[in-house]
Symmetry: C2
Subunit: 360 residues, 2 copies
């Protein structure tokens, strides 16, 4: 019995990919070994990693002048690794602050000695919106501009890509990668923890434009040095092999369903259904500005907040798990990543309707 | 059909643990979710991580004044993280160099600005032995002494624990942890990548004495800051959840078999059988000093090195995989970690006998 799992991450994965992983967990491709047990330097795993990278390139249409790196330490690790790779101490960088993940990236950049200029901060709205595209003033001397295309906690997603001119744009795509097509060439660096749309925690993917390689500070840990990792095909050290393998299975699932255009249609429809229901309700509400609502993470409140625990518990009993809102936000949150089917969102809407009828 | 897998890492895992992981990969504990899909902050996974930590403490008899940390980035990450956590730039540290993994740790310590004094270097023997215990002269001003209890490539293992007096002893236990009892109190810091005796790659365990916490340099990446990670129960960021879960299953397997005393007996018997066979042979040889032979990694040569590829290929066809020696050493290497049963070692000996009969 599988449930509809609305966890913000680690999150629901495609059952099609999980079933393949399960079937071969003790005997991968007839080798008599698990993929967990084979050397990363052996030809079978090297081929697996190369196939995963190629699928990533194909699905995201990654241009040839970008490296795809498989790293460890998650987006939180990259908060430190990015300054170490792209800047010297004292360099000016620009940040857009749209919520808690932006703020963590800013804190780490400051700790790495950068001159951080926050060019937009959505504190006035309680971090429920994104800045107007034409309000952004980029410092042309900045080493890069960093933003968070989707804030997992606030449920805030950019409806546009900031235009930073010649200044490299760096983006934490952890909770939105693979959810819709993007133009990789708009970015200098894209990074994302795997545990929402790509697979298990412990794998982090970085997509880096070639001209940003080779600028690392002395003392940058080797396993986070983009140039060293690129030169070693992400195998300077032992990679998180199971994560790379599972990412490959998930990318095949995405490709089989029609790639990112199909994912976008699927995710748009799910988001429209849920936001449409919430907006039509006088009992439920979502605080986020209409043009900044996340397709992936939908926080919502009910009129009687005293019933939040009951809502979450009754939903779980009905086969819809992990709907509690983030502790800093309260209420509920439905994370509806790629693997959540439309049927799961409809089941949630039906439950919300019933819950309101009984309690509203 | 399972094979005997002699890979140096990622390596053979206990089929008992793999089978449990397989059986619940799409439905963990009746939750309707995979362990890969649940939030690390949810009560089920928090309990899983706490249970894994407690098993680690019980199996290794970890004293109360040590923290057990679940990290990412492997031992290679720790090569940088250790200097960042335990020293200031310019501090004196002592290293013992017994081979390639020692050398990598030394290189990283130098890159982090340390005054590295190598107090023993086994270059004269071609890194086929360990220094005499009474030959080690520790610098009392050193921030720590680092050594590699088992060199995975050279197959060299210390038969004793260096006595460093008041200077903290730091040890890379990647390829020997859980293979026999150790006295954790002899060490200031123990660290180990999981992918030999503990589980999948992508998880790294550190066991740190309390008085070594809180000395990190400014700018130490948060996810590698021992004090910050200890304060956050290793969940400052999303941990590699599947690795923590699988480590728990493997620790249960170790405990069920009788813990580390039983593992030591099992590993001693395997090593004695294989080294005994090699020593009695005039066709096969092992270059390592008798008192420094690894219980985990057994490199060996045959008289006719032209037949190495044939040996490895024919062994694989007979169900014994990954016997090629490291490219820097040549010949063959049999890694016989905890999960390798005595039957696997006997099968290898039988094959070696037959191969020599046909080719010797």
């Amino acid at each position: 019995m599988r449930v509809y799992n609305f966890s913000a991450g680690p999150a629901m994965l495609p059952i099609e990919a999980l079933t393949v992983a399960q079937s071969e967990l003790t005997d991968w491709k007839g080798s008599g070994m698990s993929v967990l047990e084979v050397s990363h330097r052996g030809k079978d795993f090297v081929a697996c990693a190369a196939e995963t990278e190629q699928l990533m390139r194909d699905v995201l249409s990654v241009p040839d002048n970008y490296k795809v790196l498989f790293l460890q330490g998650g987006a939180s690790g990259q908060f430190d690794a990015i300054p170490l790779n792209l800047t010297a101490v004292g360099d000016r960088v620009n940040f857009i602050n749209t919520g808690q993940w932006s703020a963590k990236a800013i804190k780490a950049a400051k700790a790495q000695g950068l001159d951080v200029s926050v060019i937009a901060d959505q504190a006035a709205s309680g971090y429920t919106d994104t800045p107007a595209a034409d309000s952004l003033v980029i410092d042309p001397s900045a080493a890069y501009v960093h933003y968070t295309p989707n804030e997992t906690i606030g449920g805030v997603e950019f409806g546009y890509v900031p235009n930073t001119g010649e200044v490299p744009l760096v983006a934490d795509f952890s909770s939105t990668i693979l959810s819709r097509p993007i133009n990789v060439a708009d970015y200098g660096l894209i990074y994302a923890g795997a545990q929402k749309n790509m697979g298990p925690s412990g794998l982090c993917v970085a997509i880096v434009r070639d001209d940003l390689l080779g600028k690392a500070r002395p003392g940058t840990p080797s396993i986070w040095n983009y140039a060293e990792m690129a030169a070693a095909d992400s195998m300077l050290n032992t990679p998180p092999t199971f994560g790379v393998y599972l990412l490959g299975l998930i990318l095949k699932w995405v490709a089989d369903l029609g790639g990112l255009p199909a994912m976008a249609e699927r995710n748009r429809a799910k988001a429209e259904a849920l936001y449409g229901y919430i907006d039509a309700s006088s009992y439920y509400s979502n605080p986020v500005a209409a043009d900044s609502r996340s397709w992936m993470n939908v926080p919502f409140l009910q009129a009687n907040a005293d019933l939040d625990k009951a809502f979450v518990a009754e939903a779980a009993a009905a086969g819809m798990t992990n709907l509690a809102g983030h502790r800093s936000v309260g209420g509920m949150r439905a994370s509806i990543y790629n693997a959540m089917p439309a049927e799961g969102v409809q089941a949630l809407i039906d439950f919300m309707t019933d819950f309101e009828r009984r309690n509203g």
